[in-house]
């Protein structure tokens, strides 16, 4: 629990007739990490032949690629909103399947591909071509629309014996005319935007004249016949026709998906699993009629694995286990209880533990949660985080194990924030006192008594650092490195109380009997001597480093107070906002209404996305503000202005402070705590296991 799981090196010799069955069962059992015999340091490899991937491996890979391509086309990702994906995702049930032989799977895959591969690929090609054509038509449509005001036959745009006719747009008609002076026979132009800045232009110029129209003229390469109005009608029809064709193709693809979708997804999974099984034999060693498998398994699996190997091979296999000789080569399996599992990601982010090193997850999990709550310290913010965590657990947490872990982590820090919020009396900052005149009961408030919180933070710091020292001493004890215990840990346990007594006595904050002061002085010298023995001239940096680590816990106070302070600032500004009512006169309110209305018109054009949402919200805000002044409703004004400042401000504060609490809580683990005992750097245990995305085995 406090150390990674004990691992054993496993060696299996199996008769070739039973290899497939054994590999299948090892794959499903997920108990063994299989080592590549020829990359290992095993002497036995010298007398073995290298293993080879089974012949079906290539076929499974090729068929898997083709099936994957077809399923990709048939299941083109549906665009779900980010929040919907997180909190309300559509959960697809896994298909129940029976375990089948590789031959049957390959035959099935071939048959299905024969039935639909060409149809799907042709349909997809046609769909893509039509989409490209539609895109081209949209560009042409835009160009023709610009020329519509000139109303000429588009087949004029051509080269004849004496003249060349070009059409396009310019954003500097004066400059264009200047450049064409004396060189062109005719120039027709018409403004195409309200500000008279952009003009559609038709130029007729003598063929032997050279015209420099760079940067002022964008030419349209149109090969069309008829007047723009008529052409636009034709383009519209053509677009509709292509879209109709695409609808037909999409419904064909849907039909194919309805008929074959399930089978394809099952095959996709099965082929991937079979490919892994057929490829893994390349990691084995071979004799004439046996295969030799080596790998790692957690020691607790020894009995189960032995039974599995003997059971599935009918005794035609031999299985042996050995304790590892070189700890640095052993993969690390973090064996924590279920409630700690979500926090393993925090340890892994730093580095997984080495095999013979403490796994600190069990310790950092509760401390991280407590520190987070201490730093954020607002009951309402905590409730919001807890609610998000629970929603995530019900949403994406049902689908992805990573999301499930994140949601548990979020719920835990949310609950901790509620707890510390109540202790510190933080409810969206000082909302109860400021808006309702109620002073909530609290144990200690950072704003009123920062010194007490600082003391608590520093005491927590000392406990945390010393816990690290205890863990370091335990590791050294296991390694029988007693001199390190004395010099690296005992030295600090002597120095800390000695230094404290000397400082407190020196500052006159406490009076100690002279004997205690003498002992403290001797302790200080002894501790420093131990440090000097260990670090030589650099001992001073260790000393300042320790004080730095300790003082770093002052951030527990600072971040908590920053959350409360910003929340209070938001409340003050929200309270002051409604006072603007008296400053807004009628003309100003009308200007606000006009701006709001213009934003509304602009916002309606944009149908989707955050930008559109923000514009629409700003429109509603401005219209309500303006109208509340016009119809003389100060309450409405106060609600919309104060409410907006309140919601936006607290959302911002929650976001930035939650990020800060997360990061700084983690920093106290990584720098100040891990610095005492943990370096990490182990290689994670990667068992040979099936990765079923769409299926689950029946029974």
């Amino acid at each position: 629990m406090f150390y990674p799981a004990r691992m054993k090196e496993v060696s299996i010799v199996v008769h070739d007739d039973w290899v497939d069955e054994l590999v299948k069962n090892l794959h499903e059992s997920e108990m063994v990490e299989i080592t590549d015999m020829y990359k290992s340091e095993k002497d036995v490899k010298e007398i073995l032949m290298p293993g080879e991937a089974k012949s079906e491996a290539g076929e499974c890979a090729a068929l898997g690629l083709r099936i994957g391509r077809i399923t990709g086309i048939l299941n083109e990702e549906k665009h779900e909103g980010f929040l919907k994906k997180l909190f309300f995702p559509v959960k697809t049930e896994k298909y129940r399947v029976k375990v089948r032989g590789v031959k049957e799977i390959i035959d099935d895959a071939k048959k299905v591909l024969e039935d639909i591969e060409t149809k799907v690929l042709n349909a997809n090609e046609a769909l893509e071509k039509n989409k490209e054509k539609i895109d081209e038509l949209i560009v042409t449509e835009q160009q023709v629309s610009l020329l519509e005001s000139l109303d000429f036959d588009l087949d004029f745009i051509a080269e004849s014996e004496y003249v060349t006719v070009k059409a396009g747009v310019t954003e500097d008609i004066v400059e264009l005319k200047n450049r064409l002076k004396g060189k062109c026979a005719a120039l027709f132009s018409a403004s195409v935007n309200e500000k008279n800045e952009k003009h559609a232009v038709l130029i007729v110029f003598y063929k032997d004249e050279e015209i420099d129209s760079r940067k002022v003229f964008t030419e349209f390469d149109l090969k069309l016949k008829g007047r723009p109005g008529k052409v636009l009608g034709e383009i519209k029809k053509e677009k509709e026709k292509l879209k109709e064709e695409n609808r037909g193709i999409i419904s064909l693809l849907k039909e194919l998906n309805n008929n074959y979708g399930e089978e394809l997804l099952i095959l996709d999974d099965e082929l991937d699993i079979e490919r892994n099984r057929k490829e893994v034999t390349a990691r084995f060693g071979k004799t004439e009629s046996t295969s030799v498998i080596i790998g790692w398994t957690p020691a607790k699996n020894e009995k189960g694995l032995t039974m599995l190997v003997e059971g599935v091979t009918n005794g035609y296999a031999y299985c042996s286990f050995a304790w590892p000789k070189k700890p640095e080569k052993v993969p690390v399996y973090m064996d924590n209880p279920r409630w700690v599992k979500p926090f393993e990601a925090l340890t892994e982010m730093f580095a997984p533990p080495k095999y013979d090193e403490v796994d600190p997850t069990m310790i950092i999990a509760p401390i991280f949660v407590l520190f987070f709550g201490f730093m954020l310290g607002d009951a309402v913010y905590g409730a919001i985080i807890l609610m998000m965590g629970l929603l995530l657990l019900r949403g994406a947490g049902r689908i992805s194990p990573e999301m499930k872990n994140s949601s548990i982590l979020l719920s835990a820090v949310g609950a901790s924030t509620i707890f510390f919020g109540i202790l510190q009396g933080g409810y969206l900052g000082d909302v109860p006192a400021r808006f309702f005149g109620v002073e909530p009961e609290c144990l200690v408030s950072g704003l009123k008594d920062p010194i007490t919180i600082l003391m608590i933070a520093l005491i927590i710091g000392l406990m945390h650092i010393n816990l690290g020292l205890v863990l370091a001493a335990h590791q050294n004890y296991i390694k029988k490195d007693y001199s390190s215990i004395i010099q690296d840990q005992v030295s600090w346990w002597v120095l800390q109380p000695s230094f404290a007594v000397i400082i407190l006595h020196f500052l006159g904050w406490c009076s100690f009997p002279l004997t205690v002061v003498y002992f403290a002085g001797m302790g200080l010298l002894f501790g420093l001597a131990l440090l000097i023995m260990r670090k030589k001239g650099l001992f001073f940096f260790d000393f300042t480093g320790f004080i730095g680590n300790w003082l770093s816990y002052a951030r527990l106070l600072a971040l908590g107070l920053a959350t409360a302070g910003i929340a209070m600032t938001v409340n003050i500004i929200a309270q002051m906002g409604p006072k603007l009512y008296s400053r807004i006169n009628l003309p100003l309110s009308l200007i606000i209404i006009i701006i709001g209305a213009l934003l509304g018109v602009y916002g309606l054009k944009k149908k989707k996305g955050i930008k559109s949402l923000v514009i629409k919200a700003a429109c509603v805000f401005l219209l309500t503000v303006g109208l509340s002044v016009v119809i003389k409703m100060p309450v409405l004004f106060a609600l919309i202005v104060g409410g907006t400042i309140f919601i936006v401000g607290h959302t911002f504060n929650l976001g930035i402070q939650a990020l800060g609490s997360f990061v700084h809580s983690l920093r106290l683990q990584y720098v100040e705590f891990f610095g005492q005992f943990y370096s990490g750097g182990g290689k994670k245990f990667k068992p040979f296991k099936t990765d079923r995305k769409y299926t689950m085995v029946e029974g």
Partner: protein, 323 residues
């Protein structure tokens, strides 16, 4: 009619938000430049870049919070500023210097965060580690805020209760507040060095994920100068009786210890050199893990000069009779 105390309090509030806003502005600007580059190539990285850009904004928020605390505590917001003693006004200036100058740490954080954006754009799994590195240079701003909170707590600004300061002439304590602010504030510039080291750490970790822990060890070294600043600020508070509210300092002593604050504060800038060494050492260790110990020795060399200043600051305290 406001007096000198309120005038000084206003100056303190101005320093708090003014200088920290400058720091955040520069830091956010550096990050924004990296973000623009990344988004031009990969528009889908906008959200990720935005999170990194938010990191160096916190310093200005700390400045704003301190300014609001000062304005409210001294009655410049809400009324009652007429009675503010000069000593409390001077402490407010100290708070402004602490949070303001320490807010320049946002420049270092911006350097680190821009490295984080680059790394996370290439490798999404680097986002968490990039944020961890980028959060390190915020520590200096947090120390500045801690000192400001303590000063505001001792002087009654937080609770709007400055009775002792009204009854006695405690201008000396005000000067000590300024000294504390200078010590922790200017030493906060050490974050620029830390930012450089963190950027090196991010780059190395991006190449080799196992470098995260070692990168962290090197990246926290340039923080020591800020810790010296914090130690001097706390010693000044302790020796002048702030913790126990039994103030024992005269005006001349109060003014003299500004020298101690300046010594350790300005020497804190030596961390820029240390940051450059650390960044190089991270690269070296990434290539050859055996040079970790030697890299650490090279890295701590720049710190010796900050230790000189620490000694001088303590000698000043001793010399003026505070110890």
């Amino acid at each position: 009619m406001i007096g000198m105390g309120a005038f000084l309090a206003a100056v303190g509030a101005g320093l708090a938000i003014g200088i920290s806003a400058m720091g955040s502005g520069i830091g956010v600007g550096i990050t924004g430049a990296a973000a623009s580059g990344v988004v031009a190539q990969k528009p889908e990285k906008f959200g990720m870049s935005f999170v990194f850009q938010a990191l160096p904004q916190t310093q200005a928020i700390y400045g704003l919070v301190t300014a609001i605390f000062i304005l409210m505590g001294t009655g410049l917001l809400g009324g009652g500023a007429e009675d503010i003693p000069v000593s409390v006004g001077l402490v407010a200036v100290g708070c402004g210097l602490a949070v303001g100058f320490a807010g320049l740490s946002a420049i270092g954080q911006g350097i680190a965060a821009s490295g984080g954006i680059g790394a996370a754009a290439e490798k999404p799994e680097m986002m968490g580690k990039g944020i961890m590195f980028s959060a390190l240079p915020e520590t200096q701003a947090i120390y500045g805020l801690v000192v400001a909170i303590l000063l505001m707590g001792f002087s009654g600004i937080l609770t709007k209760d400055y009775g002792v300061f009204l009854e006695n002439d405690l201008t000396a304590v005000g000067f000590v507040g300024v000294a504390c602010g200078l010590a922790i504030g200017i030493a906060g510039l050490s974050a620029i060095g830390q930012g450089i080291a963190c950027a090196g750490g991010i780059s190395a970790t991006s190449e080799k994920p196992e470098m995260f822990g070692k990168g962290m060890v090197f990246s926290v070294l340039p923080e020591t100068q800020a810790i010296y600043g914090l130690v001097v600020a706390i010693l000044l508070m302790a020796f002048t009786g702030m913790f126990t509210k039994t103030f024992k300092v005269d005006v001349n002593q109060g003014m003299a210890v500004i020298g101690a604050g300046l010594a350790i504060g300005i020497a804190g800038i030596s961390a820029i050199g240390q940051g450059i060494t650390c960044s190089g050492a991270i690269g070296a260790v990434s290539r050859n893990p055996d040079v970790m110990g030697k890299g650490l020795i090279f890295a701590v060399m720049s710190e010796i000069f900050a230790i000189f200043a620490l000694v001088v600051a303590i000698l000043i305290m001793k010399g003026v009779g505070l110890m």
